[in-house]
């Protein structure tokens, strides 16, 4: 018998899509049964209470969670989000219900061995409820009490060789797309640099020295499967400088209907015979392609590496060999000043161990932001406030037309004194030539 009736939530058990309610219920039942005799370190019925408080929110149309307050592990500024229920008498199992962020492995590959161990730990010391994964990328353990935080951290570091992820005003857990590990489009090894920088910047990750949060995300190519361009203070997006490699035979295979376009992504509808002109050349944003005499020609100088043609004909077209990434900066959610996507700062940079050139850019940005950023001001907002020029100046990057989609249309140029031969002038001298 469930501890709380959940008539509203129960309606979310039907329908084909996996029901989180059913899953929570199975967990609640499993904890109630406790076949393995786990010595639960948080209330055994916490999942019941979680269902109960959620049901109450469904009834009231509002949340029943309060502000977190500052909880965490000693010496770390992040990794834990404190959370308390505003109905602790009714739902004592979730009265304290903090989350922990566990730094996920690159591209979220797991062995079952590791995962199962995590499950054991979390069942024992927490609610057994998780998010696989949080929006930033972490493994999220939802629901434990304050005393368990250090215990879990101890076990993780000692028995799992595993650290917490980020929260608060620090570097957040970096994350990456699957990249070259399983994707033919990847222009660099996303996992390698993601891991290297995560390790390099452990201090920034765990000990807040920043005005606000800061995020890295690594996309192997402009398809942006980890959405870096929309949600990372620095987005690393793979690209290349030389030519797209063309296998004309495979092109013919597509034209002839031998291969399904776009790897079969459109198989659910009859779109008619593949038309390379209409589906590839005409849709190329720069119109730098031609299919002529049975050959596909690309004017690579004009190509902006949008990936479309390669996506449509993955067997025939391959990314170039002179690979690296573009770095874009400032993406963030709407609060406070409006959402931003990343703005291109470094058009092309090699992604090679030990990533020194890249680190230089990162650190120059941080120096500036830590110096000038206001409390709770994201990098993107600082760039807006002080200007893109200032960013270039502070990172010592030469302005190039690639930095802009278009040049300014207002002529309000803030000239500096040393650019115009000084501002000091004498009114009396002026008046000699110009009477009042």
């Amino acid at each position: 018998m469930a501890k709380h009736a959940t008539p509203l939530l129960d309606q979310l058990e039907s329908g084909p899509w996996p029901s989180f309610v059913s899953d929570l219920k199975q967990e609640a039942a499993s904890r109630a049964k406790n076949e393995k005799n786990v010595e639960f370190q948080v209330p055994q019925d916490c999942v019941e209470d979680l269902l109960g408080v959620l049901e109450l929110s469904y009834k009231h149309g509002v949340t029943h969670w309060k502000h977190g307050g500052i909880v965490g592990v000693f010496g770390y500024g992040g990794g834990v989000i404190g959370r308390y229920c505003d109905q602790p008498e009714t739902f004592p199992g979730v009265a304290h219900f903090h989350t922990m962020r566990i730094n996920q492995p690159g591209a979220k590959y797991y062995t079952t061995e590791f995962l199962k161990k995590l499950c054991d730990l979390w069942e024992f010391r927490g609610s057994g409820v998780t998010n696989m994964h949080g929006s930033t990328g972490d493994i999220i353990f939802i629901g434990t009490s304050t005393p368990q935080l250090e215990e879990i951290f101890y076990e993780l570091t000692h028995n799992f060789n595993q650290d917490l992820g980020g929260s608060g005003s620090n570097l957040r857990t970096p994350s990456d797309c699957i990249g070259s590990s399983r994707c033919e489009y990847s222009c660099y090894d996303t996992q390698a640099i993601c891991y290297a920088l995560t390790q390099e910047y452990q201090d920034e990750l765990h000990r807040p020295a920043f005005p606000y949060k800061f995020k890295f995300k690594f996309d192997g190519c402009p398809n942006c499967c980890v959405a870096s361009i929309a949600r990372a203070d620095i987005s690393f997006v793979g690209t290349w400088k030389d030519d797209i490699k063309i296998d004309q035979e495979a092109v013919a295979g597509y034209v002839g209907g031998e291969f399904a376009p776009n790897g079969g992504a459109h198989s659910g509808r009859d779109w008619g015979k593949f038309d390379i002109d209409k589906e590839v050349c005409d849709l190329c944003p720069t119109k730098c392609m031609k299919y002529e005499g049975g050959k596909l020609l690309i004017n690579n100088k004009e190509c902006t590496r949008c990936m479309h043609c390669i996506n449509v004909m993955p067997r025939a077209l391959h990314i170039g060999d002179d690979r690296g990434c573009s770095m874009l900066v400032g993406a963030k959610a709407p609060i406070l000043d409006g959402a931003q996507m990343g703005s291109l700062l470094v058009p092309f940079i090699k992604v090679e161990e030990p990533y020194d050139e890249i680190k230089e850019v990162i650190e120059a940005i941080w120096d500036w932001w830590m110096e000038e950023g206001k409390n709770r001001e994201r990098l993107g907002e600082l760039i807006k406030r002080q200007g893109f020029q200032k960013l270039l100046e502070m990172t010592n990057i030469k302005p190039v037309p690639q930095h802009v989609q278009e040049p300014r249309h207002n002529p309000y140029i803030f000239w500096k004194e040393d650019e115009v031969g000084g501002w000091d002038r004498d009114i009396n001298e002026f008046r000699e030539k110009h009477q009042r």
């Binding site: 309606q11 979310l12 996996p18 309610v21 499950c119 101890y154 790897g263 993955p314 609060i335």
Partner: protein, 381 residues
């Protein structure tokens, strides 16, 4: 419930302390076929919805079966995932950036048994545990946030609307009939924990009532200057308030300037916004992240408000379904929702989706608003 120590000694927190070790190294978890062929993949193909094959230079193949699911998952569920991976995939698996699970096998004959196993598993309530799909020109899992399950600022739930929406879009999770991929995301408040602002369809929780003021506790619990500074529209001012006999330091809110962002509440628990009548959902449309063909785009607000309707948010899901169908009927092959709307013009978008255009959809936020109005005589009747 006896407290069991891990070995941690609260009196000597630094004893044996290990810190700053970061995550596990990625390559420890690679399945063998991945480890071997990393960086040498030649091409891929989606054999059918949810099933990919990647072919390497070596000739090796990696078959991936992608399954959807609630990312809010319990250890019981994860153990079941592990059981499957142990059975079919030599103990390897991964999660995608959109919270799907990928089971990888290294030969074709292992695919069908795996799929059959996956599709056969259902929860007691009747829903699939591991529906296969989420690839290609279809709908994949909904990126979402905490909602009423854990956060203190939401204006709607997350897991509930996601379940309701995915039930309605389920066929498209398992199909490739759409003109291009269609990404749905949900954020339960303006903080937008996720790439919701750049989604084909975004479901956004939004408050519509200014904060309540818990004067009695405001000064006690909050740093008033921080709350004031947090407000992007400068709607908050310090104020003295009579409370019984006492005069308390508190704040006053100019309600007409409030845009219900909840920033003040983030800084100060004595300024709650949540309200059953005020809270609900905003629908945004036409954003994207990829640089394919067109450059990344923000999503645009097309429905200013839909009330919260737990447990199934019928009006929200109906609205989304309508948009998906209009898009499916109208867009060209490879055309994302936003590209379609721009090609036909937003005036046509409202015709085709039968959504009502209201004044709320006209931008009035600061200077850039101007650039969204129409500075041209080019429009469709």
């Amino acid at each position: 419930m006896a407290f069991i120590s891990s070995g941690y000694n609260p009196d000597k927190p630094m004893e044996n302390r290990i810190t700053d070790i970061g995550p596990q190294k990625y390559d420890k978890f690679y399945p063998p076929v991945i480890a071997k062929n990393k960086g040498k993949w030649l091409y891929h193909e989606i054999i059918k919805p949810g099933v990919l094959v990647h072919v390497a230079e070596s000739g090796d193949e990696c078959y991936t079966v992608r399954v959807g699911g609630a990312r809010l998952m319990t250890v019981t569920h994860i153990r079941e995932i592990c059981e499957i991976a142990d059975k079919h995939c030599d103990g390897h698996l991964r999660f995608t950036t959109r919270n799907n699970i990928e089971f990888m096998v290294d030969s074709k004959d292992k695919v069908e048994p795996l799929i059959q196993d996956l599709e056969s598993r259902k929860f007691e309530g009747g829903s699939y545990k591991f529906p296969v799909g989420g690839t290609g020109a279809g709908v994949t899992n909904i990126i979402h946030t905490q909602g009423w399950i854990h956060c203190h600022t939401p204006a709607t739930d997350a897991s509930g609307p996601v379940k309701a929406t995915m039930d309605v879009l389920f066929d498209d999770f398992k199909d490739h009939r759409l003109p291009a991929q269609l990404r749905v995301s949900l954020a339960c408040c303006l903080n937008m924990c996720g790439a919701v602002h750049c989604s084909d369809i975004a479901i956004l929780g939004y408050h519509r009532k200014p904060p309540l003021l818990d004067h009695e506790y405001l000064d006690k619990m909050c740093e008033i200057p921080l709350a004031i500074a947090a407000c992007p529209t400068a709607a908050i001012k310090p104020a003295k308030v009579k409370f019984g006999e006492a005069e308390l330091k508190s704040v006053a809110v100019n309600n007409d300037r409030c845009m219900f962002c909840g920033n003040c509440y983030t800084m100060c628990p004595s300024m709650p916004l949540a309200d059953q009548e005020g809270d609900g959902i905003v629908i945004m449309v036409g954003g994207k992240v990829s640089n394919r063909i067109s450059t990344p785009k923000f999503s645009k607000v097309v429905v200013a408000f839909i009330p919260n309707e737990p447990p199934r948010w019928e009006s929200t899901t109906a609205c989304i379904k309508k948009i998906v169908e209009a898009y499916s009927a109208g867009a060209n092959k490879y055309e994302r929702v936003g590209d379609w709307a721009e090609r036909i013009g937003w005036e046509r978008f409202f015709d085709k989706t039968e959504l009502e255009f209201t004044h709320h959809l006209i931008d009035d936020f600061r200077d850039p608003a101007y650039y969204t109005w129409r500075q041209s005589t080019q429009f469709k009747f």
